[in-house]
């Protein structure tokens, strides 16, 4: 069974968000990494890029498929996880510890539109 952390918010496109102040840390869920299989490449945005809620900001490529990354929030990218450039497989090892980008959010209330752990768990079951 996939791991789901209680204190995070989730998008139905399988990204997780942790909001601390106005900085959102974003990654893909354990369910997503499991469905994708061995990840070979994470296409990340650049620091300074603007991202928009519901629009793609990059892609994850596995041996099975390439999948768009959809941003769960809007704002400016302030940091990307450079470790994933050389070791994308870290996402397979621990999808919650190995975040993809940090965003300075322009509208913190957007997070309210995302799913909580219980609602996300329900989607994964379906």
């Amino acid at each position: 069974m996939s791991k789901i952390l209680d204190d995070l918010r989730y998008a139905d496109s399988h990204e997780w968000v942790k909001l601390e102040g106005d900085i959102a840390t974003i990654g893909i869920t354990d369910y997503a990494q499991h469905a994708l299989g061995n990840i070979v490449y994470v296409d990340m945005p650049e620091v300074g890029d603007e991202v928009t809620q519901g629009e793609d900001f990059g892609a994850v490529e596995s041996v099975k498929a390439a999948s768009d990354l959809i941003s769960p929030v809007s704002g400016e990218v302030v940091e990307i996880n450079e470790a994933l450039e050389d070791e994308p497989e870290l996402v397979n090892q621990d999808a919650f510890a190995n975040w993809i980008m940090k965003v300075k959010v322009s509208d913190p209330s957007e997070i309210e539109s995302l799913l909580d752990a219980a609602a996300y768990a329900k989607i994964c079951e379906e």
Binding site: N38, V40, E61, K64, A65
Partner: protein, 489 residues
């Protein structure tokens, strides 16, 4: 010799030759006439080998090939049907193979007649007004068809129509072709059964829609029963319907895309019309259009004159040339031979037999494999891996294990609708005995997955190259002999 794995460069010995020529007494050094700056500085590093070594090398390599001539090839969405040898025989007639594309048209009347006849046969089978045979492959046909779509809107001064609607289950070439044609891609969702969601489609149909790309049967092998309604909605919004001929096989001679409301389509001659593909030969992707789009088809075209002769012409409203000459002629000859040898009655049996074979396998295996979409499929269907998910055996493991039993693997991890997709298309050319053998092996693999899961997870166990490390292959690909030598160092 099953284990033979040499590269021809490894056989090379300095000075070894496969020929002996008399001394050149004519001073014909061809290099003198080539400008110095165009000559290479170092000698080409070609292998130096004798004739026998070359023959053995390539014969041994060819024995390692797996093709439809050696075994069952249930590769979903690829229609790996048997390619009758008469096709090869006819297409290698010297009176055709020795033609030059720049020959005067009076000397190639037979070739032009073949082009004209095949184009008309395809028009009849598709229910469309006219075909061009010029595109070199399926995706090239898609691009050509979308250029026709774009040209049509531009010719009416309707420049804002740029949106091409593509189902989320579509073959990846569909959105790619639309992008290359300078159009924008909008995705329409599928329902859980893989059909287009008409309610999701409706809001997309505004005055910026250029058209929609579909296959029918769709990517999961089910017939889109709402096609007439979809066609009506798209047409009323001012868009055109594009039919991806990838899945034409089950409808051949029975249902015509033109009758379903499609305006443009391409046909993969190398799938539906039994010409070799998948490393076995070049493709061909003829494009057909409804009467209001005929003038936009690419140049050059073949026309029949009043006196019965044939000419090559260029249309003024045409979107231009999309190929150097007139397509892969050899492939057209094979498709022409296929249609003529089948004949009007037999061609109608292709679809029903392909459909029967697919349903026979599906129903025989659905106790062991998870069938996410119930019902009668057309020429192919999708399993979502093993029914028993507790074994940890994946679709990839099963595909590899099939190699141990002498079958080509099905298409895996496509469509993306399911996590463990396994797409099986037997085609009409397989006998019941072959289908039964495959079914028996699939049951056996499902049993192994329960009893000895490690055997399946480590498969293939009997091939020359064992299980590949796909992650390393994707991250650090070694793509040349030089790179291999460096990696070994």
């Amino acid at each position: 010799m099953k284990t033979y794995d040499k590269l021809i460069f490894e056989l090379s010995r300095p000075g070894r030759k496969g020929y002996s020529l008399p001394e050149d007494n004519y001073n014909t050094n061809g290099f003198d006439s080539i400008p110095k700056d165009l000559l290479r500085k170092d000698e080409a590093s070609l292998p130096e080998v004798g004739e026998l070594e070359v023959v053995r090398h390539y014969t041994n390599l060819s024995n390692k090939n797996f093709g439809v001539d050696t075994g069952f090839y249930p590769l979903g969405s690829c229609t790996m049907k048997y390619n009758p040898k008469i096709n090869e025989e006819l297409s290698s007639l010297p009176s055709f193979t020795t033609l030059h594309p720049l020959q005067d048209e009076s000397t190639v009347q037979g070739a032009l007649e073949l082009y004209w006849n095949l184009q008309n046969m395809l028009s009849n089978l598709a229910g469309l007004a006219e075909f061009t045979l010029n595109p070199y492959a399926g995706a090239h046909g898609e691009l050509t068809g979308l250029m026709v779509m774009r040209q049509y809107h531009i010719s009416r001064g309707d420049h804002k129509r740029k949106k091409v609607i593509v189902p989320d289950t579509a073959h990846g070439t569909n959105p790619a072709s639309a992008m290359v044609a300078g159009l924008e891609v909008v995705e329409v969702k599928s329902k859980p059964n893989g059909s287009i969601d008409v309610e999701d489609l409706k809001p997309l149909l505004d005055d910026t829609v250029a058209g929609i790309m579909m296959t029918n049967p769709n990517t999961v092998g089910m017939f889109e029963t709402e096609i007439l309604e979809i066609a009506d909605l798209v047409h009323r919004a001012g868009g055109l319907l594009y039919y991806d001929g990838a899945n034409l096989n089950p409808l051949l001679g029975k249902v015509r895309p033109g009758d379903m409301g499609f305006d443009i389509m391409h046909i993969n001659l190398h799938k539906t019309f039994s010409t070799p593909h998948g490393g076995g030969g070049p493709g061909s992707g003829p494009v057909g259009v409804a009467s209001h789009l005929v003038n936009f088809l690419p140049n050059p075209k073949v026309v029949k004159n009043e006196d019965g002769t044939f000419s090559i012409t260029n249309g003024e409203e045409s979107l231009g040339n999309i190929s150097t000459f007139m397509g892969n002629f050899g492939v057209m000859m094979k498709a022409y031979a296929y249609i003529l040898t089948l004949g009007k009655e037999n061609i109608k049996k292709v679809g029903p037999l392909a459909t029967l074979n697919a349903n026979y396998i599906k129903e025989s295996l659905k106790d062991d494999y998870l069938l996410p979409i119930e019902g009668v499929c057309k020429h192919e269907f999708v399993f979502d891996g093993l029914k028993d998910k507790s074994t940890g055996v994946t679709t990839l493991n099963i595909a590899k294990r099939l190699l141990d039993y002498g079958f080509h693997a099905p298409t895996i991890y496509f469509p993306l609708l399911f996590h463990e997709s396994m797409m099986i298309e037997p085609t009409e050319t397989e006998s019941k005995e072959t289908l039964d053998d495959f079914i028996e092996v699939m049951h056996k693999v499902a049993k192994e997955a329960k009893e000895n899961p490690d055997d399946v997870k480590n498969a293939p166990l009997t091939t020359i190259v064992r299980k590949l490390d796909e992650t390393t292959a994707a991250k650090n690909p070694i793509l040349s002999y030089k790179a291999l030598k460096e990696a070994v160092k």
